[in-house]
């Protein structure tokens, strides 16, 4: 059977897949293909109808669909092939991508290089173990967002939100605008997990209370949810006896985190980072499997789509270079580790620079809020670079560009730390 060949294939047609495909075209790949399982490009952006996207990428404040629209137009102009309604089943060494679609049936595409760009999905009730019965009316915030913004259904009229992730905050406002009553948002951590701007414009604007260090300890209702019991939690997240109270509701939304969607990556035997939930990559976003790259939320959950696009562009350019034999494999790598105060760092490895790049961009998440803080790079035992940060929050990614000359000084271990700074 004829197996079509593409220089670069991206798996996923959301912001990461589109930016990777464009990056690959820019870097000289002739034939580029996007495989997308949905009926259109754009991914999750199509249901994020609020604005605030693109400040960095386009110096404009766009809605999610608006941001997607700009990329879809660029993809069309760039002569990139797009297969919609196409689900990828497996990737094999050497670049064989097996997929299936209602019109094409099962087929295999040969790729010079592959970019994983499958994005992430929401953590569900099972993943955070909320006790109680299993009535209807409990949704992840993103599922509710799709219902309200794309399908035209309101999932409830009297709402309680568990978790202060950005999607939950955005949905608190969205449900209020659509006439629902949002009673409260409960966050188990002592700090919010959403962006400050979303606390202000989604909760404070509508007088929706945010309870920190609170957890839902029971969900009530038989056929439909009728209410929740909430309790304050101690520093070990155990409910404090005597602090329980009940709230009636007909809808519970969960916004308790996102998980990179890596079934394909894992079944390809690629080396994973257990903290990010994504692959271990080098500065070119190449995984432990030669010719397989990863970018965007499948690699680590971002809070800004602008950074997803930027990272994916790098991955796409690198994939094109690999397909043309201009980028080496994964050997000779230097490990980059997350030290004290750092929960995640990407990339986790550095391969010898190819000569064109002056700096490497790193993305971090902190383990705890600090104000102010010092981000430092230790090469073996010496601090070779540091930066003062005004505020650090676990919910907000820290980005830093570090000169190649600083990184490659012959050290065997590179470790980043985030520590409190004096005022």
């Amino acid at each position: 059977m004829h197996e079509p060949y593409y220089d670069v294939v991206t798996i996923g047609g959301g912001p990461a897949g589109m930016a990777a495909a464009l990056g690959a075209r820019e870097a000289g790949a002739d034939k580029v293909l996007i495989l997308e399982r949905d009926r259109e490009l754009g991914g999750i952006l199509q249901q994020c109808i609020h604005n605030g996207f693109g400040l960095r990428r386009f110096q404009a404040e766009l809605t999610g669909p608006g941001y997607a629209h700009r990329y879809i137009e660029m993809v069309e102009k760039a002569g990139i092939d797009v297969w919609l309604d196409t689900t990828v089943l497996a990737t094999a060494p050497g670049g064989a991508v097996s997929c299936v679609s209602p019109t094409g049936g099962p087929q295999t595409v040969r790729a010079g290089a592959v970019v994983y760009a499958m994005g992430c999905r929401e953590r569900t009730r099972g993943a955070i173990r909320i006790p109680g019965s299993r009535p209807a009316g409990v949704f992840t915030a993103g599922a509710a967002q799709r219902m309200v913004n794309m399908e035209g259904y309101l999932p409830g009229h009297d709402v309680v939100i568990i978790g202060s992730g950005d999607i939950g905050l955005i949905m608190a406002r969205r449900m209020t605008l659509e006439g629902a009553r949002v009673r409260a948002v409960f966050e188990i951590m002592p700090y919010s997990n959403g962006l400050t701007r979303n606390i202000v414009q989604c909760l404070n604007d509508f007088s929706i209370p945010l309870y920190l260090s609170h957890s839902v300890v029971a969900v009530h209702g038989h056929d439909r949810v009728t209410g929740v019991t909430v309790a304050q939690v101690d520093s070990h997240f155990a409910p404090v006896p005597g602090t329980e109270f009940e709230l009636p509701c007909d809808c519970v939304l969960l916004s308790v985190g996102l998980i990179p969607e890596n079934e394909l990556t894992r079944s390809a035997g690629i080396h994973m980072d257990s903290v990010t939930g994504g692959a271990v990559v080098d500065q070119f976003r190449q995984t432990s499997a030669q010719g397989f790259f990863a970018a965007g939320n499948v690699l680590h959950v971002h809070d800004l789509v602008d950074w997803v696009s930027r990272e994916a562009e790098t991955a796409g350019q690198s994939a094109a270079r690999f397909a043309h034999g201009a980028l080496g494999g994964t050997g000779g790598a230097l490990a980059v580790s997350a030290g004290a105060g750092v929960r995640t760092v990407v990339p986790q490895r550095l391969v010898p620079p190819t000569g064109d790049e002056k700096s490497v961009r790193f993305y971090f998440r902190a383990t705890q809020p600090l104000q102010p803080a010092i981000l430092a790079l230790h090469a073996d035992d010496n601090v070779v670079w540091q930066r003062r940060l005004r505020v650090v929050k676990p919910s907000e990614m820290v980005v830093a560009d570090i000169q190649v000359a600083t990184l490659f000084q012959g050290a065997e271990n590179l470790t980043f730390t985030i520590s409190p700074a004096t005022e």
């Binding site: 009926r39 109808i49 604005n51 913004n149 605008l177 400050t196 604007d205 907000e396």
Partner: protein
């Protein structure tokens, strides 16, 4: 008249700077904590006449999708946001619609246009849905 200090969290960008605006006799006399001009402009407006961008959906007939996301071209006075959304709930358009098309030229006499955030094609014709 005594001076009032208003703590303001900026929503101008994801940095989320916190600051204070000092108002004396209804005039802003001092500002602390905002790290850029956009933030200073936001904070000054926020204490006297707060405004917000509005995004919602309107119904679409004959399209690949039943709803069109729309956005205000400028921020709307905060106390009119809910009115805007209820007005837009009554709007129904017919596909095809192109991103940027004007959905309502002047909502509630505020002098603010609402435009389509995306394109929606006629049903069954492929992209745009």
């Amino acid at each position: 008249m005594a001076s009032e200090i208003h703590p303001i969290l900026c929503i101008g960008c994801p940095s989320g700077c916190g600051g204070e605006v000092v108002v004396e006799d209804g005039k802003v006399t001092e500002m602390r904590g905002f790290t850029c001009d956009k933030g200073k402009a936001y904070a000054a407006e926020e204490v006297v006449a707060p405004r917000r961008m509005v995004t919602t959906t309107v119904r679409v007939r004959g399209g690949g999708l039943p709803l069109l996301p729309v956005v205000s071209e400028q921020p709307v006075p905060k106390d009119r946001v809910l009115d805007c959304v209820s007005q837009l709930r009554a709007v129904e358009l017919t596909a095809p619609i192109a991103a940027g098309d004007v959905v309502v030229p002047d909502l509630l006499g505020l002098g603010i246009r609402f435009v389509a955030s995306r394109s929606i094609g006629a049903a069954g014709e492929g992209y745009p849905l």
